[in-house]
C-alpha cells in the first residue's frame, strides 16, 4: 500500500512542491532505481542527493514525517552503496556535502540520534575515499569536523564504541594530522580538541591508552622537523632573502604551541601527563634545551651528530614556549632543567627523565631524545586498536602506507572498469608534489634516524636503569625547592643557564642577547613556573634572613652584572645594542632588583647605571641643536616610548628578529629592532637611549617624573572649556576652512597654545572651539589679500594620530591689514617662544650648561622661597607693581615685541646698561619662560584700576607708545562685539601669561611677590645673575 502510494503518488512524477514528503518519496524512488552509478545517471544522482539534504532540513524544521520516511527507508544505506562503488569525486563530493548539510543543520535532537544510531555514519567515516583528490579530502575532513562539533556526553556513544574499543571519528581524523594542506591540519586539530573536551571517562581512557602515545609522539616529531626547517632557514639566510618563508615557519611554530596549550588547558590529567612526557623527553629537552649548549655536548661526549639548532634559534623558541605554555608540570620542569641541570644530563639523559618522574609522581616510559617515532601513526593506531573489532574497514592492510600518499587516483571512479594502469600513472602525476614533500620528509627522517643511532645521543634502554641508580643521589639537589641554592653553586655546573647568561654578552652584537632576555623575561612571566624556583634568580629573594641575607645575595648578581653591562654598552656611540634589547634589559633589571617598591640594587650597580645615564646624556648632547627637528624628534621619541611599551609576546612572534641584526631600513624592520642608519636615526636612538636610562634611574631612585612630558597637558586649555577672557588679548577674525565654511572667531594666543574662541552669552567669556599648540603652527601671508593669513595647525605628537592630518588648515581673515600683521607677528613669535621654552627644558634635562641666563633651571622651590622672602618687604610693593604693569603694556606693541625677541636670548652682560631696558627685556623674557601656562580665570580686573595703571604708565618714558599700540590692536571703536571684551583687550595687558601679574594689581599681597623682584631688578646691576634669574621665573 505504502509502496504503491509512493510509486504513484510521488514516484514517477516530480511533485511541484520541492519541500514535501511527496518529493522525498520521489527522490527515494530515483535513488532506488539508480543504485548503480554510471556515466549517465551521475548528474541525476547528485541532484537527488542535494535535494534530499534540502528536504530533510525542511522536514526537520517543519514536518517530522519527512524524517520518519527517510529513516524508515534507511536511505543512508543508499549513500553507503553509492560510496562503495568507485563513484568519482563528483558524486562523492555531493554525498559528503549532503551529509555535511544534514548534520550541520539538524536541530531536532531525536532526528540526530536516529541518523547516528545505525552506525552508517561510522561506516562512512572509515570508508577509504580518494584522499588524493583535494576536493574530496576537504569535504571529507569538513564532514568529520562538523560531526565533532555535534559531540557531547550523549552523542559520543554513537561514535565511540566502548565494547569494541572503536572510535573511528577520532582515529581516522588524526591520521591526517600532518597533511600537506594546512586547512586539513587545522580541521584535524579542531576535531581533536572537540573530542577531548567531551567529558566521557571511558572515551578519554581510550584516547589515552590507545592513541595518545602514538599521536603525540608523531605530533612532536612533526613539530621538531618544523623546528629544524626553521633553523636551516635562519642559517642560510643571513641576507634576509627568504623572509616570507621564515615568517611562516615562525608562525607555524606558534600554531603548534598554541595547539599544545589548548590541549593542556583542557586540563585532562591523564592526557596531559602523556603529552608533557612526550614534549619534554622527545622535543623540548633533547632538541631545544640541549641546543643551548652545543659545545659542551660535543666536548662531553662527542655526540655532535644528533640534530640540533643554533643557540639563537633555541633561545627564541624556548621564549615562545615559556610565553605560551602555562601547564605547570611542563614549564616548571623545563625551567628547572634549564636553571639547575648539570652537565651529567649529557652523559646521562635519564636525568631529566627522573625529574619528570619525581615531579609527577609517575613513571615515565619514554626514553628521552629527539627521535622519529618507531612507526607511523597509522601503524601504531592499527596495532594499538583491537584489529578484530574493526570489521568495518576491510582493507586495513594498506593502512600501513602513510596516509597522505595513498596511491589512489581520483579518476578511478570515473571510468571504473577500464584502464587501471592509466589511472595509476595519472594518480602518480597528480600526487607528484605531495610525493616530493613526502620523500624529503622520509629522507630526513631516515637520515636523522641514522644519525641518532650513530651518535647514541639517546642511551639504549639497557643502560638507563643503571644510570638511574647511579644518579639517584642527584635527585634532591635538582629538585630542591630552595630558591637561593643556585646562587651558591658555581655557574659552570649549570651549562644551560650559563649559556643563557653568556648570550647576554653584547660586545659584538645583541643577536643572541635579545632572546636570552626574552627567555628570562618569559620565565618570570610564566604562571606555571613556581615562584620558589625564580626567587633569587629573576625576583629578589624574599627572605631577608638566612644564607642570602647580605644585600649582595638579595638578587642574582651574575645576571644583574650582565644586564648592567648591556646598559653601559648601549650608551656608547655606535653601540651594537638595539633599542628593543635595551628596553627589555631595563625591564628585566627592574624586575630582578625591585620588590615591594624598594630597590635592592647595590651601590656599585647603581653607580654603573648613573654612569650610563651620564654617558647617554653626553652622547645626546652632541645631537642637541636648536634646529626645529630636534625638538620634534625628542617629543616624538618620548611619546613613542610611552605609547608603545615593549610587548615581548609580539616580539617573539616577529620572525624578523630571528635574522642577524641589521642597520638598513630597507629590510622593513622597525626602527627599534634594528641598528640606526644615518645621522637622524642615530639622533633618535640617542634620544631614546637617554630617555629609557633616565626612566630607569628615576625608578631605581624611587623618584617621580617631574620634567616630562615637556608639555603639561593638564594645564592646557581644552576644547569646550569656558574661558574668562576679560584680560586677554583677542583678535577677531573669520576662519575660512578648506571646504569654504566660514566662522567668526576670536583668536587668543596663550603661552603655548593658540585658542579660537566663540563668545558666550556671558560678557567677557568665551568657549574654546579649537585649541592647538603654538609650536605646531605654520603661518604664511596671502599674496593677494593683506588681511589674510594661512594658518596650519599640525596634530600634536602626543595625540597618537598616525596619519598626520592637520588639526586645522584654514584661511584667517582679519578686519584690516594692521591687525593681520599683528596676529602674524604674535603667532610667529609665540611659536618660536613655545619651542624655545621646550628646548630650554631639554637642555636642563641634559645638564647643558645654561649659556642663557633665562634658563629657568632652578625649580619652583626656589621660586616659592623667594616669594616668601619678598613677602616680608612691604613698602615697595605697590609702586613696583605699577611699574611692572606698565612694562607689560609696552609689550603689547607688536613691532616692539618682535624686536625684543632678539634681545631676549643673549647673555645678561648687557642688561645693566639701562634699567629701563632691563625691565623691558625681563618682562619679555618672563613671558617666554613662564613656568606654567596660566589660565585667565577669575582674574577680573576692575576697569578703573586698569585705567589708572594706564595713566601711570604713560608717565614712563619708555611707554610712550602704549596708547598707540593698544589702539592699533583693538581700537575701542571696533565693530565687533561684545564691545566689553574689546575694551578689556585694549586696556589690559596682552597675553594670558600676564594674568597673574595683572591679578596681582588687584590683590596686594600677591602683587608684592612680583613687584619686589622687579624692584630688585631695577635696582640694578649689582644683583647677582642668579638673583636676576630668579626674578624672571616668578612672573
Amino acid at each position: 500500500m505504502f509502496r504503491s502510494r509512493s510509486w504513484f503518488g510521488g514516484g514517477l512524477w516530480k511533485p511541484k512542491n520541492p519541500h514535501s514528503l511527496e518529493h522525498l518519496k520521489y527522490l527515494y524512488n530515483v535513488l532506488s532505481k539508480n543504485q548503480i552509478v554510471s556515466e549517465s545517471n551521475r548528474g541525476l544522482l547528485v541532484e537527488t542527493l542535494r535535494s534530499i539534504a534540502e528536504i530533510l532540513i525542511w522536514g526537520d524544521q517543519n514536518d517530522s514525517s519527512v524524517f520518519d520516511f527517510f529513516l524508515e527507508k534507511n536511505m543512508l544505506s543508499f549513500f553507503l552503496k553509492i560510496m562503495k562503488q568507485k563513484c568519482g569525486s563528483y558524486v562523492c563530493v555531493q554525498l559528503l556535502q549532503t551529509l555535511n548539510i544534514l548534520f550541520e543543520n539538524i536541530r531536532n535532537e531525536t532526528s540526530l540520534y536516529y541518523l547516528l544510531s545505525n552506525n552508517h555514519v561510522n561506516s562512512i567515516i572509515v570508508h577509504k575515499f580518494d584522499f588524493s583528490d583535494e576536493e574530496v579530502m576537504a569535504y571529507y575532513i569538513s564532514f568529520l569536523k562538523t560531526l565533532s562539533l555535534k559531540l557531547n556526553g550523549h552523542t559520543i556513544h554513537f561514535f565511540y564504541n566502548e565494547h569494541t574499543n572503536d572510535f573511528p571519528l577520532y582515529t581516522e581524523a588524526i591520521k591526517f594530522f600532518n597533511h600537506s594542506e594546512s586547512m586539513v591540519r587545522i580541521a584535524v586539530r579542531t576535531l581533536t580538541l572537540n573530542v577531548y573536551r567531551v567529558e566521557d571517562r571511558s572515551m578519554l581512557r581510550f584516547i589515552r591508552d590507545r592513541t595518545a602515545a602514538p599521536y603525540f609522539s608523531n605530533l612532536v616529531w612533526f613539530i621538531g622537523n618544523h623546528v629544524l626547517e626553521l633553523d636551516a632557514c635562519v642559517r642560510n639566510d643571513a641576507d634576509h632573502q627568504s623572509k616570507n618563508r621564515l615568517a611562516d615557519l615562525v608562525a607555524e611554530h606558534l600554531d603548534h604551541l598554541h595547539y599544545l596549550n589548548d590541549i593542556l588547558c583542557l586540563d585532562i590529567a591523564d592526557l596531559n601527563h602523556v603529552l608533557t612526557d612526550h614534549l619534554l623527553n622527545k622535543l623540548l629537552v633533547p632538541l631545544y634545551v640541549f641546543s643551548l649548549d652545543r659545545q659542551k655536548v660535543k666536548l662531553s661526549a662527542s655526540k655532535n651528530s644528533s640534530p640540533y639548532v643554533s643557540s639563537v634559534v633555541s633561545l627564541f623558541l624556548l621564549s615562545q614556549v615559556f610565553l605560551i605554555l602555562t601547564h605547570a608540570p611542563l614549564v616548571d620542569t623545563l625551567a628547572k632543567i634549564i636553571l639547575h641541570a648539570d652537565r651529567l644530563i649529557f652523559s646521562n639523559s635519564s636525568t631529566q627523565d627522573k625529574i619528570v618522574l619525581l615531579q609527577q609522581g609517575k613513571t615515565s616510559v619514554i626514553q628521552p631524545g629527539f627521535l622519529p617515532p618507531t612507526e607511523s601513526l597509522e601503524i601504531s593506531l592499527e596495532t594499538s586498536l583491537d584489529v578484530s573489532s574493526r570489521s568495518i574497514s576491510g582493507d586495513s592492510a594498506d593502512l600501513a602506507s602513510p596516509c597522505i600518499s595513498e596511491p589512489r587516483s581520483r579518476q578511478s571512479s570515473i571510468e571504473e572498469s577500464t584502464n587501471t594502469t592509466e589511472q595509476g600513472s595519472e594518480g602518480k602525476a597528480k600526487n607528484d608534489s605531495e610525493d616530493m614533500n613526502l620523500n624529503i620528509t622520509d629522507e630526513e627522517k631516515h637520515m636523522l634516524k641514522v644519525l641518532a643511532c650513530q651518535s647514541g645521543a639517546v642511551p639504549c634502554p639497557s643502560t638507563v636503569s643503571g644510570d638511574v641508580q647511579a644518579l639517584s643521589s642527584e635527585g634532591p639537589m635538582l629538585l630542591s625547592p630552595e630558591g637561593p641554592v643556585p646562587l651558591a653553586q658555581p655557574l659552570s655546573t649549570q651549562p644551560f643557564i650559563e649559556s643563557v647568561y653568556n648570550a647576554l654578552n653584547c660586545q659584538e652584537n645583541d643577536y643572541a642577547a635579545l632572546f636570552a632576555l626574552c627567555l628570562l623575561y618569559a620565565f618570570g612571566k610564566n604562571k606555571g613556573v613556581s615562584g620558589a624556583l625564580l626567587h633569587g634568580v629573576l625576583y629578589p629573594c624574599q627572605r631577608p634572613e638566612g644564607p642570602c641575607s647580605p644585600l649582595s645575595h638579595r638578587y642574582n648578581v651574575p645576571v644583574v652584572e650582565r644586564l648592567v653591562s648591556v646598559i653601559t654598552l648601549s650608551c656608547q656611540p655606535n653601540a651594537k645594542v638595539r633599542l628593543v634589547t635595551l628596553e627589555l634589559t631595563i625591564r628585566l633589571l627592574t624586575q630582578i632588583v625591585i620588590h615591594a617598591n624598594s630597590s635592592f640594587l647595590q651601590d656599585c650597580h647603581l653607580a654603573a647605571i648613573e654612569g650610563a645615564k651620564e654617558e647617554s646624556s653626553s652622547v645626546l648632547r652632541n645631537f642637541y641643536k636648536s634646529e626645529e627637528i630636534f625638538l620634534d624628534m625628542f617629543e616624538d621619541e618620548y611619546h613613542e616610548m610611552k605609547k608603545k611599551p615593549l610587548n615581548v609576546e609580539w616580539l617573539t612572534m616577529d620572525s624578523n628578529v630571528l635574522l642577524p641584526p641589521t642597520g638598513t631600513p630597507l629590510t622593513g624592520i622597525e626602527f627599534g629592532k634594528r641598528l640606526p642608519c644615518g645621522e637622524v636615526e642615530r639622533a633618535r636612538r640617542a634620544i631614546r637611549v637617554f630617555l629609557m636610562i633616565r626612566d630607569l634611574s628615576l625608578v631605581l631612585g624611587m623618584e617621580e617624573e617631574r620634567a616630562l612630558p615637556l608639555t603639561d597637558t593638564t594645564a592646557c586649555v581644552q576644547v569646550d572649556h569656558v574661558l574668562n577672557l576679560n584680560n586677554s588679548d583677542l583678535i577677531g577674525c573669520t576662519v575660512v576652512s578648506k571646504d569654504g565654511t566660514r566662522v567668526h572667531r576670536f583668536l587668543v594666543i596663550d603661552v603655548i597654545q593658540l585658542i579660537l574662541v566663540e563668545p558666550t552669552r556671558r560678557l567677557g567669556y568665551g568657549v574654546a572651539k579649537l585649541v592647538g599648540f603654538l609650536q605646531d603652527i605654520e603661518v604664511t601671508g596671502d599674496k593677494d589679500d593683506s588681511r589674510c593669513l594661512h594658518i596650519t595647525i599640525h596634530q600634536p605628537l602626543s595625540s597618537g594620530a598616525s596619519k598626520r592630518v592637520p588639526l586645522l588648515a584654514a584661511k584667517f581673515i582679519f578686519d584690516d591689514h594692521i591687525r593681520c600683521m599683528a596676529a602674524k607677528q604674535r603667532l610667529t613669535k609665540g611659536r618660536s617662544k613655545a619651542r624655545q621654552k621646550k628646548m630650554v627644558q631639554i637642555a636642563r634635562l641634559l645638564d647643558i650648561p645654561a649659556s642663557q641666563p633665562s634658563v629657568p633651571s632652578s625649580a619652583y622651590n626656589l621660586l616659592t622661597a623667594r616669594r616668601q622672602e619678598s613677602a616680608l618687604r612691604g613698602g615697595v610693593r605697590i609702586a613696583g607693581g605699577r611699574e611692572q604693569r606698565q612694562l607689560y603694556n609696552i609689550q603689547k606693541m607688536p613691532g616692539h615685541a618682535a624686536a625684543l625677541r632678539r634681545e631676549s636670548t643673549p647673555s645678561p652682560s648687557n642688561t645693566s646698561k639701562s634699567p629701563d631696558r632691563t625691565r623691558v627685556r625681563e618682562s619679555s623674557r618672563s613671558r617666554e619662560v613662564s613656568p606654567k601656562p596660566l589660565r585667565p580665570r577669575s582674574e577680573e580686573i576692575p576697569l578703573e584700576d586698569i585705567a589708572k595703571v594706564k595713566e601711570q604708565g604713560a608717565l614712563l618714558k619708555d611707554t610712550v607708545s602704549v596708547p598707540s599700540s593698544s589702539s592699533v590692536l583693538v581700537p575701542n571703536s571696533t565693530s565687533y562685539s561684545p564691545s566689553h571684551m574689546s575694551y578689556q583687550t585694549a586696556a589690559v595687558s596682552e597675553s594670558v601669561s600676564t594674568g597673574s601679574s595683572t591679578s596681582s594689581s588687584s590683590s596686594p599681597p600677591e602683587q608684592s611677590e612680583e613687584t619686589s623682584f622687579t624692584r630688585q631688578a631695577s635696582q640694578g646691576s649689582k644683583n647677582s645673575g642668579q638673583r636676576r634669574r630668579g626674578q624672571v621665573e616668578t612672573v
Partner: protein, 212 residues
C-alpha cells in the same frame, strides 16, 4: 576542474549573522530559500572565472571554534580572503566588528583581503544598522563593503567574486607570494593529465549546478 588558482577564504563574524547560509548560497545556489528555511554549511568550494581564468574558491567557516585560540589563529593565517559578516538587523553584531577585525589583522598575513558584509538586507523593516554606517566602517578600515542577502541571494555572488578579484589583482601586482601556500593561495595543477581526461558531461553538470 583544473584551475589557475585556488583561493582560500574564511568567513568570520558573530554567530547567527548568516555566515554558513551565505556560504551555501554561494557554493550551491540551488538551495533556494523558501518557507523560511535556513540552511548553512561549514565548507564549500566553487569555481569562478576572473579575467578568463578559472579560479577555485574554497571557503571555510570558522564557526564554533572560537573557544580554541590555536584554531582561529591558524585559520586566519591560512586564508587569502576573509568575509567579515554582520547582521544589519542586530546592532551588536556590527559593534563587534572591531574585535573581529583586530583578531583578523593580528593573526592573518598582512595581504589578506577582507570584505565587510552586511547580511540580511532583505529584512529592511528590521534594519538597525544603516548602510552608510557599514560603508563608513569599511572606508575607515580599508575594507570592501557590500550588503547582501543570503535569502534572496542578492549580492552574494558579487561579494565572493569581488573579493576574489581583489586577491587576483594583488597577485598580478606581485603583492602575494603565490609560491607560498601558507598565504591561502595555491597555483593550479597546470598540465596535469587528469584534467584532460575529465568527462565533459560531469564537468558541465557541475558548473551548471554551481557546485564543486
Amino acid at each position: 576542474m583544473s584551475y589557475a588558482y585556488l583561493f582560500k577564504y574564511i568567513i568570520i563574524g558573530d554567530t547567527g549573522v548568516g555566515k554558513s547560509c551565505l556560504l551555501l548560497q554561494f557554493t550551491d545556489k540551488r538551495f533556494q530559500p523558501v518557507h523560511d528555511l535556513t540552511i548553512g554549511v561549514e565548507f564549500g568550494a566553487r569555481m569562478i572565472t576572473i579575467d578568463g581564468k578559472q579560479i577555485k574558491l574554497q571557503i571555510w567557516d570558522t564557526a564554533g571554534q572560537e573557544a580554541f585560540r590555536s584554531i582561529t589563529r591558524s585559520y586566519y593565517r591560512g586564508a587569502a580572503g576573509a568575509l567579515l559578516v554582520y547582521d544589519i538587523t542586530r546592532r551588536e553584531t556590527f559593534n563587534h566588528l572591531t574585535t573581529w577585525l583586530e583578531d583578523a589583522r593580528q593573526h592573518s598575513n598582512s595581504n589578506m583581503v577582507i570584505m565587510l558584509i552586511g547580511n540580511k538586507s532583505d529584512l529592511e523593516t528590521r534594519r538597525e544598522v544603516k548602510k552608510e554606517e557599514g560603508e563608513a566602517f569599511a572606508h575607515e578600515h580599508g575594507l570592501i563593503f557590500m550588503e547582501t542577502s543570503a535569502k534572496t541571494a542578492a549580492n552574494v555572488e558579487e561579494a565572493f567574486i569581488n573579493t576574489a578579484k581583489e586577491i587576483y589583482e594583488k597577485i598580478q601586482e606581485g603583492v602575494f607570494d603565490i609560491n607560498n601556500e601558507a598565504n591561502g593561495i595555491k597555483i593550479g595543477p597546470q598540465h596535469s593529465p587528469t584534467n584532460a581526461s575529465l568527462p565533459s558531461s560531469g564537468q558541465g553538470a557541475g558548473q551548471g549546478g554551481g557546485c564543486c
